[in-house]
């Protein structure tokens, strides 16, 4: 237990860096706590005083709109003071190292860092470096992990499906480059989903992906059969240049989620996407805007889940 850098000596969550290795009880506690925060967004005053006087720094070394904004809203609804730093535009371009930046912000009495970085392991490095009273949340590091996205996806699945133990979930697309997919797979298997599938061309799957406990499919026709949840991944345009795929049109033909392909899944299947979507590349507009889509509720639930994560960390 004590070897997990995310947990304190009592086994409580101190940083959230990755879902990999977290016990089911901690994941369930976060989801249950998030249920309580859903109600806060329905109050006349959409704020609770839990983190009053705490300073939360959003350190985004990589651009993001949705994640940064929902973290900011979440922190503000907890009454924390939020400071957004768009690092691309400042110190790093002047040559300051990551840890020097962190030290300087810690000297400004930071209580929590929310970190997004293009390098896998950046949030881990910061968590190891900071003083014991400071908490770190990984908001996406390289290809490694995006734990709050994974958790909000689990929250969404539980909202619509109730339970995890009887589900078939398919993750479709660029698993190779996706930190979101890794966090989703760890969360789904930890929460007891019996069948997690990945559907992708061979060039977009990491070698040994089966070792994560997933079933591998290369064809939508087989992989989508009878699933309860379809999670589409964003296809990053720059992947085309790496000769991993012939063209966006060809990708859409084989792996794009169209209303036709969706009929293979169970009639009550839900469709999820972490955003931002490429309409006409990985998902057809008719599906994205269709009645099985829960893509916008995912965004709303993301606020409650991030409020839960930040308040649990700050209290441990």
């Amino acid at each position: 237990m004590t070897l997990n850098p995310q947990l304190n000596q009592d086994g409580a969550l101190k940083h959230l860096l990755t879902i990999d290795g977290l016990p089911r009880a901690i994941l369930t506690h976060i989801l249950d706590t998030a249920e309580g925060f859903i109600a806060v967004s329905e109050q006349e005053v959409k704020k609770v005083p839990l983190l009053r006087g705490k300073a939360i720094f959003n350190l985004f070394f990589e651009p993001s709109t949705r994640t940064r904004t929902t973290f900011e809203i979440a922190a503000k609804r907890l009454s924390a003071d939020v400071i957004n730093l768009n690092i691309n535009a400042s110190s790093q371009s002047k040559g300051e190292t990551l840890l020097d930046t962190v030290d300087n912000l810690a000297a400004m009495q930071a209580d929590m860092f929310v970190v997004r970085h293009a390098q896998s392991g950046a949030a881990h490095m910061i968590a190891r470096h900071v003083a014991p009273h400071i908490h770190v949340v990984n908001a996406g590091d390289g290809r490694h992990a995006h734990p709050t996205q994974g958790l909000l996806d689990m929250f969404t699945i539980r909202k619509y499906k109730g339970e995890f133990h009887n589900l078939r979930v398919a993750i479709v697309g660029d698993v190779l480059h996706s930190r979101v997919a890794r966090s989703q797979i760890h969360a789904l298997t930890t929460l007891g989903v019996p069948e997690v599938r990945v559907i992708a061309p061979k060039t977009l799957l990491p070698t040994g992906v089966e070792q994560l406990g997933v079933h591998v499919y290369h064809e939508m026709a087989k992989g989508l059969k009878d699933v309860d949840v379809v999670i589409m991944l964003r296809l990053q345009n720059e992947r085309m240049r790496g000769a991993l795929l012939p063209s966006a049109q060809e990708y859409f033909k084989y792996y794009g989620l169209t209303p036709d392909k969706l009929t293979l899944a169970r009639p009550d299947a839900i469709v999820m996407h972490p955003g931002p979507m490429n309409r006409g590349v990985e998902i057809d507009s008719a599906v994205a805007d269709g009645k099985q889509s829960v893509i916008l509720p995912q965004v709303t639930y993301g606020i409650a889940v991030r409020m839960a994560v930040m308040s649990i960390l700050a209290g441990n």
């Binding site: 249920e35 309580g36 109600a39 109050q43 006349e44 005053v45 704020k47 839990l50 209290g315 441990n316």
Partner: protein
């Protein structure tokens, strides 16, 4: 040390309901505080007026001990299916002790709107242990309990309520 016998919880609920009933207005709503207050409010609601709006309040996000003990282990969703603004709120809790929970509950309610009035009904008032200037409008029974003990309301599988004395670790 004297053995403290606690009164029967269900009798207290019935007595409270009888005392509250003549004071109800069409504007009154019932709000139970998790967990014991929600159970007591549910039973009271059945005895008072089944058509009266009622809700459940979780005060985890408003507690004043967050910095010392962190977030409460079990957060329950607050459910207030009515406008708080202008309402006559009857707040129900199992035990009134330091008054800190009631302070938190009032803060929480005000984030939903400005009630016309808030009154407090408790099954048990632990007299002499208050840390805030708060008192109840309706009290089932008073009790004097040593500081190392806690009065808990428990509910069995059949839904029956019972007061229990627990030693604090």
């Amino acid at each position: 040390m004297p053995i403290i016998t606690l009164p029967d919880a269900e009798t207290l609920v019935a007595q409270l309901a009888a005392a509250i009933k003549p004071t109800l207005t069409p504007n009154t709503v019932l709000v139970g505080m998790y967990t014991g207050g929600v159970w007591a409010a549910q039973q009271m609601h059945a005895l008072l007026d089944p058509d009266m709006p009622h809700g459940d309040l979780d005060i985890s996000f408003y507690r004043d001990d967050f910095d010392r003990i962190g977030l409460h282990a079990q957060v329950k969703p607050t459910r207030l299916p009515f406008e708080v603004e202008g309402r006559d709120i009857l707040l129900v809790d199992d035990v009134l002790y330091t008054g800190r929970s009631v302070r938190a509950a009032m803060n929480a309610l005000f984030d939903y709107g400005r009630p016309a009035r808030i009154r407090l009904a408790v099954l048990v008032d632990r007299v002499g242990d208050r840390e805030l200037p708060i008192m109840a409008d309706f009290v089932g029974a008073t009790a004097s309990v040593p500081a190392h003990q806690h009065i808990h309301l428990v509910r069995d599988d059949a839904g029956r309520l019972k007061l229990k004395l627990v030693d604090l670790k």
